[in-house]
């Protein structure tokens, strides 16, 4: 992945650039889905799985995974969950407003290791947002990949995001899409139960490359299932989340042993972090 993307568009490590909100949709009660474009009209260059530092002056900066693929139009997507000061302020913005971004930061998904292979993506909750960049990428370059399976789990049906995408994926022949909710409501017709239950419905081969993104508790249980299928650590990729301030490998907040999630990740092969006790 090119590191120079950062120096190309900014003056110092901490200089953000302006982005315009092209579209803003309340995705769930707590999450808002923004489509952005650079204010200078240039195409924003990035790779699936990379992150942005999103900021509003006076409020601060937060790390957010990019939720769309560079294979799509000139715009790019982020989904912001209201959790703190910055996200609360960002989620008050609407179409036509501006915000500021730094990035793209970090290494994205290891496309070279996924291409020409069977791919399974396991997304829990808000973990669908960064993985959507990869889902779109695979769908756009479908012939570059073999079988493509997607697991998506949320606590409740109300927490499902990208409803239009879900509709498309349910009907698509390009992806084997499986979804589940932990706690169904009256109108939920689909599968209910933890995301690990979906493995029973599928036939994932042992040479599949797997990408995981979700809450910290999800990792352990999914990895346990993957081990049962005989998938090796080198073929399991985790998109990790940590507290982050600088996003450029300096501030120390996201450090796990000798790794920085922001610059060495956020995507790691399980083999890289298996023995880093604080990673999982």
């Amino acid at each position: 992945m090119k590191k120079s993307a950062l120096t190309k568009t900014t003056d110092t490590l901490f200089t953000p650039q302006k982005a315009k909100i092209i579209r803003a949709v309340q995705a769930t009660q707590t999450e808002k889905h923004f489509t952005l474009a650079l204010a200078n009209k240039e195409k924003f260059q990035f790779m699936p799985g990379q992150i942005l530092e999103v900021s509003l002056f006076g409020f601060g900066e937060i790390p957010i995974g990019i939720a769309s693929s560079p294979t799509r139009e000139n715009t790019f997507d982020i989904v912001v969950r209201t959790v703190g000061r910055v996200s609360a302020a960002v989620n008050k913005l609407d179409k036509g407003d501006h915000l500021f971004i730094r990035g793209p930061l970090g290494k994205g998904f290891p496309l070279d290791k996924l291409i020409n292979n069977n791919v399974l993506i396991v997304a829990g909750g808000i973990g669908l947002c960064p993985t959507r960049s990869l889902i779109q990428y695979i769908l756009d370059r479908r012939t570059d990949f073999k079988t493509f399976t997607l697991f998506y789990g949320t606590k409740t049906p109300e927490q499902q995001m990208f409803l239009d995408d879900l509709k498309t994926w349910r009907l698509s022949k390009d992806v084997h899409f499986f979804e589940t909710v932990d706690v169904p409501n009256a109108s939920w017709q689909g599968h209910a139960g933890l995301i690990t239950k979906l493995f029973k419905q599928t036939n994932i081969s042992s040479n599949t490359r797997v990408v995981l993104c979700g809450p910290p508790v999800m990792f352990k249980f999914v990895i346990f299932e993957l081990k049962k299928l005989g998938i090796i650590d080198q073929n399991i990729f985790l998109d990790l989340e940590r507290r982050m301030k600088c996003g450029v490998g300096k501030c120390g907040h996201c450090q796990i042993n000798n790794k920085y999630v922001c610059t060495d990740g956020p995507v790691f092969a399980l083999s890289e972090i298996r023995f880093l006790e604080e990673a999982l």
Binding site: G58, F59, G84, R85, A88, A89, K92
Partner: protein, 253 residues
């Protein structure tokens, strides 16, 4: 907030020192603040009153049953409630009576039985009675921090109050540690944000802003005993200074 928010100040059991501290701005800072807010109620400085309030700033602890209704009335009028100063935040030194029974006698001597001196057995933070949105800790509260809190609220941003201990600020200031001159201090577990002015003036930190999360009080007691030469009972008393109402053992012995 598009219009200037209406800000009101109220006091309960306290020395009103925090209100004095506010008016101590007396300079460009305070006047600049007035460009952005409307002060609608402020006993120390004015007398007009109004019904609806955007931000109610409450000073003082809850020590009398009659104060309950007043607190609830303020809460009902206000969009945001800030507890400012140690008395409102932790019940402060008012709570020093909480683990004693003879406090009235100790303070008022032979006048102790006068009816107007009646109060509850315990002084409590106002959050015991009403929902408090934000705290401006300290005895007195820091006027610069207060400005910062108001500034954040003007933009609808939750105020940033440091959560690290006073030691961090002392070290940043390169203040000589009280323990290095044979004194004691509670800065290791006390919430910072004040800028650590006391130790820089040679005064130990009394934790007037309350204790940090996971405050290691056992280790503090040991340090007070072993390093500052305190007796075990004095060490225990020291911990009560501003946080008696929050400690688990505030009941009568």
């Amino acid at each position: 907030m598009t219009q200037k928010p209406k800000v009101a100040f109220f006091d309960f059991s306290s020395c009103e020192g925090c209100q004095i501290e506010l008016t101590n701005f007396g300079d460009a800072d305070f006047l600049e603040l007035l460009n952005h807010i409307d002060i609608v109620e402020f006993r120390e400085a004015m007398s007009e009153k109004t019904d609806d309030i955007d931000i109610a700033c409450i000073e003082g602890s809850f020590t009398r049953e009659s104060e309950k209704d007043r607190l609830i009335a303020i809460r009902n009028r206000a969009k945001i409630v800030i507890a400012y100063g140690a008395c409102a935040h932790t019940a402060g030194i008012n709570a020093l009576k909480n683990h004693t029974t003879d406090f009235k006698k100790a303070v008022y001597g032979q006048d102790a039985d006068q009816p107007h001196l009646n109060s509850n057995d315990k002084a409590l933070p106002i959050s015991h009675v009403i929902k408090v949105d934000y705290f401006a800790p300290g005895c007195p509260m820091s006027k610069y921090e207060f400005l910062n809190i108001v500034s954040h609220l003007l933009h609808g941003k939750e105020p940033v109050i440091p959560t690290y201990p006073v030691c961090v600020e002392c070290k940043r200031n390169e203040t000589i540690c009280r323990y290095d001159v044979g004194d004691h201090c509670m800065g290791q577990v006390a919430m910072a944000g004040c800028g650590a002015p006391c130790p820089s003036q040679g005064i130990p930190c009394e934790a007037c802003r309350g204790f940090c999360e996971q405050a290691n009080l056992t280790a503090l007691e040991n340090t007070l005993i072993n390093k500052a030469g305190f007796s075990a009972s004095r060490a225990k008393d020291k911990l009560r200074m501003f946080t008696n109402a929050l400690l688990p053992d505030t009941s009568n012995p």
